[in-house]
Amino acid sequence: MSHELIAVALGVLAGTLSALFGVGGGIIFVPTLIFLGHSAHVAVATSLAAMVPVIAVGAWRQTRYGTVHWRDALIVGAASVPMTKVGEVVATSIANDTLERIFAVMLVIVALQLAWRTLHAPAETAMPDANVSPPG
């Protein structure tokens, strides 16, 4: 199978798993991109760009239910912008292997959190609540 077909298939799978289990898209996008042969630096950067259409459509779908408070979203979102630069500079300055390991630790935390949430959820709602962590 070509690189393109694999990327598209992994994209569909990553989107499905992210929405199904309520984990962030990057959690699945980054390992996917590393699997496709990218360095951790490129994987992290590319995963952020790949997330944009997913989040945009997700937010747009929610606007139909009138649940988006745009003013609050703008304030919180704008406040996060300067820190994204800090995050990028730190990520870029870290060695590739180290970045990969830090990401692996985060993956373990997400996996444990997901398992914890599932084991402690009431029987009828065994799936963790998607509200806890939006796909993004």
Binding site: G15, F29, A45, A49, H69, A73, A126, P128, G136
Partner: protein, 73 residues
């Protein structure tokens, strides 16, 4: 949750732009993965309403752990 998504949209755009300045964004793969992922997310959200099996979620958590070990080694 909806408001958080809208806020994260700004965060993701800013973060992606910053990483793009550093020259690390593989745009082609971002599109190849990100656009099909939109369809996947719709499918996943639909399935989320219907699947209530704990074992499936625990299996996914185990899969994430295995991925973490593979990345770290």
């Amino acid at each position: 949750m909806a408001t958080s998504l809208a806020a994260i949209l700004l965060t993701a755009i800013a973060a992606a732009a910053s990483h793009a300045q550093a020259g690390n964004v593989a745009w082609r793969d971002a599109a190849l993965i990100g656009i099909p992922a939109v369809g996947g997310a719709v499918l996943g959200a639909w399935a989320h309403q219907r699947i209530t099996a704990r074992n499936v979620t625990l299996a996914f958590a185990a899969f994430l752990l295995i991925t973490a070990v593979k990345l770290a080694l």
